[in-house]
Subunit: 335 residues, 2 copies
């Protein structure tokens, strides 16, 4: 196995384990807060700080940190076109874990959504470009000087300034897309910085004196600025709009914007076959539909009468599709 392919698998494992940690962290935190509530402590929502004494809450925080670090590292090994879409798996992990540990019911849509996320991710992984594009900060600097990327970066900064100062004050409270667009567009720059820093840190471990390079510190500053803007506007969006709307839209916009940026910066699509491109796009669209199903119908309870028979279980608990549709009168199911 050549080094590039090994790198690809390291990056893939980091991205998947990052989703496990991040998805799990939500459950650990919530479990901790619920345990506190059952003990009668003052809840976080009421301004209490008792959660700082709860080890489950800390476990959640640490799990989140480990997850974010793994995600950061994944970008240093595998293409952004692969790592970013796999973020969908953390939504899936948290949905599955909450149905097991928090007894939050996952309805049929949720289950289909989870399956679709897995299928779409699988298809994307098969087709993702396997070559690592940049090996050193010097090579990264060359990529960043490419006219195509400079135009892209100027457009990104320009459009987000327009969004922040002209559009957001007037429409930000009314239209869910405004804040999410700001986060997503800026997010593509963060990922580029993360990618560059990851490569720098890899070089650092290999003994290169990257800390003396100005590019390294420019990337650190740029990343800090981008992430602060992102967090601030994501919080604004979550503050006004429901999580079940913000999460899927943000996933779609953020991932699309990262993939566009990565395509311009690394031109990885040029080296892909038509099949590879079609496969990657199909996988991405499948994940989007999965995320949509997971979220859009989260709070829907179907009335039993409107469900086809094989989706409801009668008193005898017939398994799926095991009973005739017309022969069984409705009262049998309800009684």
């Amino acid at each position: 196995m050549d080094v590039n392919r090994l790198d690809f698998y390291i990056g893939l494992s980091l991205a998947v384990s990052s989703s496990l940690f991040i998805g799990g962290s939500f459950i650990l935190k919530k479990k901790g807060l619920l345990r506190l509530a059952s003990k009668g402590s003052m809840r976080a929502g009421q301004g209490g700080y008792a959660y700082l004494k709860e080890w489950l809450w800390w476990a959640g925080l640490i799990s989140m940190g480990v997850g974010e670090a793994a995600n950061f590292a994944a970008y240093a090994f595998a293409p952004a076109t692969l790592v970013t879409p796999l973020g969908a798996l953390s939504v899936l992990v948290s949905a599955v874990l909450s149905s097991y540990f928090l007894n939050e019911r996952l309805n049929v849509h949720g289950k289909i959504g989870c399956l679709l996320c897995i299928l779409g991710s699988t298809v994307m992984v098969i087709h993702a470009p396997q070559e690592e594009e940049v090996a050193s900060l010097g090579a990264m600097a060359n990529k960043l000087k490419d006219p195509g990327f400079i135009v892209f970066a100027v457009c990104v900064v320009g459009s987000s300034l327009v969004l922040i100062f002209a559009v957001a004050p007037r429409f930000g409270q009314k239209n869910v897309l405004v804040y999410i667009l700001i986060c997503s567009v800026i997010g593509s720059l963060s990922v580029s910085c993360v990618k560059g820093l990851g490569i720098g840190i890899k070089q650092l471990f290999a003994g290169t004196a990257v800390l003396k390079e100005p590019l390294f510190w420019s990337l650190v500053i740029c990343l800090a600025v981008c992430i602060s803007v992102q967090i601030s506007y994501l919080n604004k969006a979550l503050d006004i709009f429901n999580t079940s709307i913000v999460t899927p839209i943000y996933y779609v916009f953020f991932t699309t914007s990262v993939m566009a940026c990565s395509a311009i910066l690394f031109k990885e699509w040029l080296r892909m076959t038509t099949d590879g491109i079609v496969g990657t796009v199909s996988g991405f669209l499948t994940i989007i539909l999965g995320i949509f199903l997971l979220h859009a119908f989260k709070d829907i309870t179907f009335s039993r009468d409107s469900l086809p028979v094989y989706l409801k279980r009668g008193p005898q608990g017939f398994p799926c599709g095991q009973q005739p549709y017309v022969a069984l009168p409705n009262q049998d199911l309800e009684g």
Copy 2:
């Protein structure tokens, strides 16, 4: 482009156009019957034959015939592992056409289901084995003599005899799986016959005297027997159980059984890469989920209150995701 690849694309086009014709035929027939009903003629359900004078009904019948012929021909050019799953597209075509021409509403689930069928089919097409396995009836005869296939065929015939004579009389009326299993298992043999006959007819056009070969006529007889059994049990299933249950289950069982038979007969999976196998399976599972969504929630009407805001349109007709979730009171949407 080499001959095998050309064959593959001919088979693919035949399979796709077959789905267009078969999917369209349902709509033409129904449109014809509806037009008759509006003229006040006696309806088919009441024993009338006026539909024989309606050109739309005939167009539907011819369209169905053309579709089945194209499907038959597709098997002669492309692997069964590709042609059979693409049958899903006819379900999609008929769903889309009926929402346009018959004003049958396609709900959100239906739309997502259609998209998933397309995505899954795309992924399957990318990964399907592109080699044509058998070029002549002689080669086909050798494949049929393979011990693996003989064991498979004996199992198929044996298990369907058990199902027909022992299981069906006792459980056929109660369990939807019995009749469908019979059709699906026998269906795998029909497809093998169709494949052999298709190759024979191709040879016939090329000037080979296949009509003198006993194998050709054995395949014709075997196909006639298999198809009569299939049609008879499919009609029984449709008679007792609802179409929206029978169609998806039949699709899944029939396709799986054809793929198993094709794998044993042509061993096409042995020549596939791991990526190809994983991709084919992912695509197939995506189609299954799509078919499920198209059918399972067909008759569900959501109460507007239980839907998230971006799935319902208010009086101002806000496009998807354009309005805040919490800020808008419910009466604005209902008024």
